[in-house]
């Protein structure tokens, strides 16, 4: 895997995780009463913009490589999501969630080595 492909994979992961955190933040706010509409629309819009960035980087990768070759790198995202949800959304995953994340990372390593 070349450095530019790796960089594009990492950039797509960053956009995907940031976009999801913004989206979840917006949807959490829909459970508040009264609903803070300005905040919901603002965060959701920003989330969609960032996820659009992810879409085009991802489409660019698919033009260069087989889907089955680049898709396993998406496996990084659960790790980054659990970390991001813990830090920024203050979700408290159970200890097994961290074990699962370790397995996912191991799986990615096996995929990368194959």
């Amino acid at each position: 895997m070349s450095a530019s492909i790796l960089l594009l994979c990492l950039a797509s992961q960053f956009c995907l995780v940031t976009g999801q955190l913004l989206t979840k933040h917006a949807m959490n706010a829909t459970n508040l009463s009264p609903k803070p509409w300005a905040q919901i629309v603002g965060r959701l819009s920003l989330g969609i913009v960032v996820l659009t960035g992810w879409f085009f980087i991802w489409a660019g990768l698919l033009q260069k490589k087989d889907l089955s070759y680049v898709f396993p790198f998406e496996g990084l995202s659960p790790v980054l999501i659990v970390l991001g949800a813990s830090v920024f959304l203050r979700e408290k995953p159970m200890w097994k969630a961290w074990l699962g994340v370790a397995l996912i990372s191991l799986g990615i390593a096996v995929v990368a080595a194959s």
Binding site: L8, L21, L22, T23, K24, H25, M27, N28, A29, T30, N31, L32, P36, Q39, F55, F56, I57, W58, A59, G60, L62, Q63, D66, L67, S68, F71, P72, E74, G75, S77, P78, I81, V82, G84, A85, S86, F88, L89, R90, E91, K92, P93, M94, K96, A97, L99, G100, A102, L103, I104, S105, L106, G107, I108, A109, V110, V111, A112, A113, S114
Partner: protein, 153 residues
């Protein structure tokens, strides 16, 4: 950036949101929305790959970005699937914690390669299959206990 501002604590969120979705009609069940969101992913990815292959000979003017994939009808079908996926996903996110919802979504790591092999004729080595299987075990380890905890609430 502190995303946690104005968000209730998890204990408040999990009890109130769990009770709330139980009062919804069956077709608004967040786990059903998650299942649909999951199925739309391999559909979208394979359509996008078709679109990307159809436009791969045109060289994009924007270095590294696949903007020219938009000239293929397959890509627009993929976008419809992404929108359907995103709508289901937003509904599920109202009621499920992000770490759980995203872990469930990771099961696409098995469905997408299976779809690539079945529909696109891409080959996948034994080692890569083994890696994908380990990723899936990780997903089950995360999602299993969390879903049981949801059921108990």
């Amino acid at each position: 950036m502190d995303f946690s501002q104005q968000i209730p604590t998890r204990s408040v969120m999990s009890s109130t949101t769990s009770q709330r979705w139980r009062q919804l009609p069956w077709w608004l069940n967040p786990y059903l929305a998650m299942a649909l969101a999951i199925l739309f992913v391999p559909a979208a990815e394979m359509l996008l790959k078709r679109g990307a292959m159809a436009t791969a000979l045109h060289h994009s003017t924007v270095a590294g970005l696949g903007v020219d994939v938009l000239s293929s009808g397959w890509t627009w079908l993929a976008i419809v699937c992404y929108i359907a996926n995103f709508t289901c996903w937003l509904h599920a996110l109202r009621y499920l914690p992000l770490y759980l919802a995203f872990s469930l979504l990771s099961s696409t790591h098995a469905l997408v390669p299976l779809g690539c092999w079945w529909f696109l004729g891409e080959s996948i080595s034994l080692g890569r299959w083994a890696g994908i299987a380990i990723v899936l075990v990780g997903v089950v380890v995360i999602a299993g206990p969390a879903m049981k905890a949801e059921e108990r609430l």
